[in-house]
Symmetry: C2
Subunit: 129 residues, 2 copies
Amino acid sequence: MPLAARQEHLLNELRRSNGELSGQDLHARLRQGPHPMGLATVYRHLRQLQQLGLVRCRHLPSGEALYAPVERDEHHLTCVDCGSTTTLESCPVHGAHLSPAQLGGFKPLFHTLEFFGLCDACQQRQQAW
Amino acid sequence: MPLAARQEHLLNELRRSNGELSGQDLHARLRQGPHPMGLATVYRHLRQLQQLGLVRCRHLPSGEALYAPVERDEHHLTCVDCGSTTTLESCPVHGAHLSPAQLGGFKPLFHTLEFFGLCDACQQRQQAW
DNA sequence: GTTGATTTTGAGAATGGTTCTTGGTTGAAG
DNA sequence: CTTCAACCAAGAACCATTCTCAAAATCAAC
Ligand SMILES: [Mn+2]
Ligand SMILES: [Mn+2]
Ligand SMILES: [Zn+2]
Ligand SMILES: [Zn+2]
């Protein structure tokens, strides 16, 4: 089954963007262009693209979900104090495959790996106390 | 600075539990016991315990946050279709440390690593179509 | 081209976990 | 006994996401 036109447009918008986008972001961007789309439709198709293994998604501590093309394998360091994030240049689990025993029939489509801790600045600030 | 009594109770409740708990869960459980606590206080202290590196947190696809003692190093396979999850017996990045260059002063406290894909049952169901 | 069934869509309402506001309580210091 | 700051709880507010359901688009005969 090929992708519907609407889903293509959504995926293109995601690929066009440098960074990850939230559902709201996508809705706002599409609203401007030649292929506007209702918010409900954006979320509907994001879920479908995820199930097809074409889009991945991670959740910010705020609860907001960010989407990206699945081929973009990025991970982050996030400060639990100030919330600042930096992106890792390489994926620490790239290639590290799970054994079939661990998978038990599960077919992996993507993964999220995020590190949480204290950034340099916030450590300094705590020291001061 | 030692932990406040309220924070201890919260941490104890988390440690007492077998699985991860949401903020709501914790509030409900504490409500029963000898140390009830308002919902706002639960969330306040969960954030503080996280910044102290004593508690970790991950987000379900639903957006709900689940908390656990930081020493509990668990990860999951989650089906993007039916939402079922299974727990991995070992952490694939345990020991795989980040280089100081990658960290750049960042002090890691915990990490989240979650795999998303299709469970056996949902793959079957898709085949049937 | 018409018709009726099926699928897709989107505006707005509903949901629900988390955070904010506010006013009260506690407890130590003076 | 005051004062003052820290802590706390109840409920309101917030807001991203999901749900509802009527309208629109698409499809499939005829
Ligand atoms: Mn990766
Ligand atoms: Mn781990
Ligand atoms: Zn920071
Ligand atoms: Zn499944």
